[in-house]
């Protein structure tokens, strides 16, 4: 009886943990900090995002605030290296392997043989593929590795804003919706 209860508790804990953050930044990734010349690490969970949203009252913050209010978490790991070969394919694979279909859908995958710059964008689909429930970007250059995970509902307009209104040039993502529904890999 006690064993059954323990198993149930364990299963429940696993479910809760899995739903809290379905993509985990691998611990090994943090070891790259020692090799990197520059590291950016952002870990913001629900409470901190709500707190930040509460104080996003400056001019031009409104759009970002509305987006942030809906999110469950923002996780960024960005490493810049002085020389090439400081991170391995296994480091990237440890994140990539978590982004499995049907929950995750790879919408962009670009590999450049010439300069070794790779970019992958994944969307998490919610409500039978009608909503974006999260976003993961893996940008891997010979001297830079960046992984972004935005956990929470996003709509195509949010992606437009991300590309334009937060201090970076606007990215035309108007075709995204069609492709996500087309189920392209």
């Amino acid at each position: 009886m006690k064993r059954t209860e323990a198993l149930l508790v364990l299963a429940l804990a696993m479910v809760i943990n899995a739903s809290a953050q379905d993509v985990k930044m691998p611990v090994d990734l943090d070891k790259l900090t020692a090799k990197a010349s520059e590291t950016t690490e952002v870990t913001l969970t629900g409470r901190m995002l709500q707190l930040a949203a509460k104080f996003m009252n400056d001019e031009g913050d409104a759009e970002a605030r509305e987006m942030v209010k809906k999110l469950k978490g923002i996780y960024v790991r960005s490493f810049q290296f002085d020389k090439t070969g400081e991170y391995s394919e296994a480091d990237v694979e440890s994140v990539r392997s978590q982004l499995k279909s049907p929950l995750w859908e790879k919408v962009v995958g670009v590999r450049s043989k010439r300069d070794g710059e790779n970019a992958e964008i994944y969307f998490k689909t919610d409500n039978n593929g009608t909503q974006i429930g999260g976003l993961v970007i893996i940008a891997a250059d010979p001297k830079e590795l960046t992984i972004v995970h935005i956990d929470g509902p996003l709509d195509p307009n949010d992606l437009d804003k991300l590309g334009g209104d937060f201090g970076v040039p606007r990215v035309d993502t108007s075709a995204r919706g069609k492709q996500a529904k087309a189920g392209s890999r």
Binding site: L51, A52, A119, V168
Partner: protein, 118 residues
């Protein structure tokens, strides 16, 4: 002398008090004095107690307000740091989206192998 004079003489004749009378009177006086003093002292103490209570309440209120102000300031500092982190994360995300878009465009020129496009 008539009967009445005789009765008066008997009633007003000198007689010694019972044993311990003086002690009892003195004890009674002492008790009365103690009671009076106690009452006077409590009347003198009451305003002091009142002031002490008021001061204690004032200290509590001021401490409470100071605690709330400090808590609010800490929360604000935490929120501003969180906001900066949010903006940094959004900028990095935006810049990576832009780079991905550029790479997708570059594919059109045959520079890279594209698996999909935005």
């Amino acid at each position: 002398m008539n009967e009445m004079d005789e009765q008066l003489k008997r009633a007003l004749r000198r007689s010694d008090p019972s044993e311990g009378f003086a002690d009892r009177v003195l004890m009674l006086l002492a008790e009365q004095r103690k009671e009076t003093l106690g009452r006077e002292r409590s009347w003198k103490l009451w305003p002091r107690l009142r002031w002490a209570t008021a001061l204690a309440v004032l200290v509590l209120v001021v401490t409470g307000i100071a605690y709330r102000v400090r808590e609010r300031r800490d929360e604000e500092r935490e929120a501003r740091a969180a906001k900066q982190q949010v903006m940094l994360a959004l900028r990095i995300t935006g810049s990576k989206l832009r780079i991905a878009k550029q790479k997708v465009k570059a594919v059109e020129g045959g520079e890279a192998k594209m698996e999909n496009t935005l």
